[in-house]
Homo-oligomer: 336 residues x 2
DNA sequence: AGTATTATGTAGAACGTTCTCCATTGTTAG
DNA sequence: CTAACAATGGAGAACGTTCTACATAATACT
């Protein structure tokens, strides 16, 4: 009474049954008569009982799924999260997000913390860690990795088909008549493999080769500033590219600024394309051609796979989501 | 061994002491010799022991703080979250975010879930619920409310001084020579009181009155579409305003689109100002004059207040953060 | 009618911590 | 030299669930 918390024992007393019986009803377990069901449900309603997650955790499930966010600022996380929560809305599961930061160390600390809080499963979004670390986490709890290609032995994965996405952009630009198409990518981090930027760059190279064109990749970073610096360097060249494909929209915004400052009009003097189709890409003042990943589908798929795994699937699954190209105002035919 | 989890008993066995002693060392409690300290610490390191949060929760603290997000899509949450996590980085506390959604019902479900998971305290960001509901939550666990003015009996509050912020905008516009300044606000929700948009609108009215000007408030919603619709209506009038102050940047973006579509140049034909200073406001193609809230400070303050309360403060505190005006390219003198 | 089977309810032992007593030392005061 | 006290370590009872075993009651099968 002092603690204020209603426990299963209170319910049992009220209904005149054992705590074990109440537990059965709460869990919807086998071996409960209709009468028992009614009595207990009534007592639960009257007292406003809610199971104590920590106590549950000590025995079995905690009905909590964790989503580790590698960068809270990434503008297309909200879609993924909405996809995850939407999919789980009718279930008993609750979703909690863990801000993991950009550093491998803080991400590791966060995943540890989530495991320590005995979450039933984890969705890791673009985690920056070695395959060994990932595998270690996957032995401790069910895991679905989002946005990382390759090695999915112990865990499931949901990836955007970044090779295809990059190909869509290149095909589109070539179709418009461009031949000098540069790509801005993110500086490789030593520890992580199969991250989207690598795969996008590779997809770009493949597509250029397929069209018999020379590739031109510049590595800066996926920030506004990174896009700006990269574009400035590219635009200073003698035979400057007529189109720049940035591996992320945020970098494409920097490219647009560089074009504006150089007095180049878009898309007449320079076509620009991005990747991710973040919300602002559709603003009329930006109107950025971009590759859309459908975060909803990605999030919903990740949630589905995770629940499947929690409920017993052992075979590992990788789901690839096809992106689409959204053509807007920043791409057009090159000046003749 | 089968579960893989290292428990306090394993550590105790390894160090040749009791579990109670290990617990003392882990918690840094009183009554531990230097020798004991060393033995146990070594055993912990060797075994890689980490305390099990759920088990802790059953007795005392869980060292978890929850942040309920009312809208994941709100672009200035990342700053607040960074402020919170930054402040807590050197402590034992972990931060988990709960996507509460926009609906009062889902928000209530999320806060309940956080309480059930026995978090040590909660930060609620712009919660949409009645004062009674808030008070109920505050009796169950320490609470800090962010972005809601008024009634802070049982909990602490961190607010942006929205009256001041609105005043800054009006003063700036009047200083440029504007007299017909309209304000776009969010449609009032019945259940919640003291939400920022209400206070901003009130601050706008006060400031206009102080300058001897007639106010002109239009209520749509804080979305791009809401800003667009509102501006279209305002711009269709005979004596259309020369400046529009939107209560949120996201709505200001819609205002810009309406201006573009109406063939009005900004700021010559129409000045536009927003509120929140979201990241894209600084993009050269947007360059939106806006009020900056310094989410870092807000988040850090909220974290500090929450920890203080958890550690014993009972007197309730409200902290008001002063905003600053960031003047950019969307505001200028009206055409004579 | 007697036995096998199924359905329903309960006891009680975990789960991994924390924390309040106690018990044992060693130290200081008188 | 004894009494009082501080310092240290340990026993064991919580905390609120789940779940295995078991007891009982009801039903089905010879």
């Amino acid at each position: 009474m002092t603690s204020g918390r209603v426990t299963i024992a209170d319910v049992a007393r009220r209904a005149g049954v054992s705590t074990a019986a109440v537990s059965k009803v709460v869990r919807g377990a086998y071996g409960v008569s209709a009468e028992m069901q009614a009595k207990v449900t009534q007592a639960i309603d009257e007292l406003g009982y809610r199971p104590h997650a920590a106590a549950r955790a000590l025995r079995g499930r905690t009905y909590t799924l964790g989503v580790m966010l590698s960068d809270t600022r990434n503008p297309f996380f909200p879609d993924i999260i909405e996809g995850v929560t939407g999919r789980l809305a009718d279930t008993e599961y609750q979703v909690l997000l863990g801000p993991g930061g950009i550093e491998p160390k803080t991400q590791a600390r966060m995943t540890d913390a989530m495991i320590d809080r005995s979450m039933d499963g984890l969705i890791l979004i673009s985690p920056v860690m070695t395959d060994a670390e990932l595998a270690a986490i996957a032995t401790a709890t069910p895991v679905v990795v989002v946005g990382r290609h390759g090695g999915a032995a112990a865990y499931d994965a949901v990836v955007d088909d970044d090779v295809m996405g990059a190909g869509l952009v290149v095909d589109h630009l070539v179709g418009l008549g461009h031949t000098r198409i540069a790509h801005i990518t993110h500086l490789e981090r030593a520890r992580a493999q199969g991250l989207p930027h690598t795969v996008r760059a590779e997809g770009y190279r493949q597509a250029m080769r397929a069209h018999g064109l020379a590739d031109d990749v510049l590595a800066t970073s996926f920030t506004e500033e990174g896009g700006f610096e990269g574009a400035r360097e590219l635009l200073a060249r003698d035979d400057r590219p007529t189109a720049i494909f940035a591996g992320a929209d945020i970098a494409a915004l920097g490219v647009l600024r560089a074009a504006d400052e150089a007095g180049l009009s878009v898309p007449e003097d320079l076509s620009v394309a991005g990747y991710d189709n973040i919300g602002i890409a559709s603003l009329n003042r930006i109107s950025l051609t971009s590759v859309d990943q459908d975060g909803h589908v990605i999030g919903a798929t990740a949630a589905r796979l995770l629940v499947e795994r929690i409920e017993g699937r052992t075979r590992s699954v990788t789901s690839s989501v096809s992106p689409t190209l959204i053509v807007r105002g920043t791409t057009g035919p090159p000046r003749p």
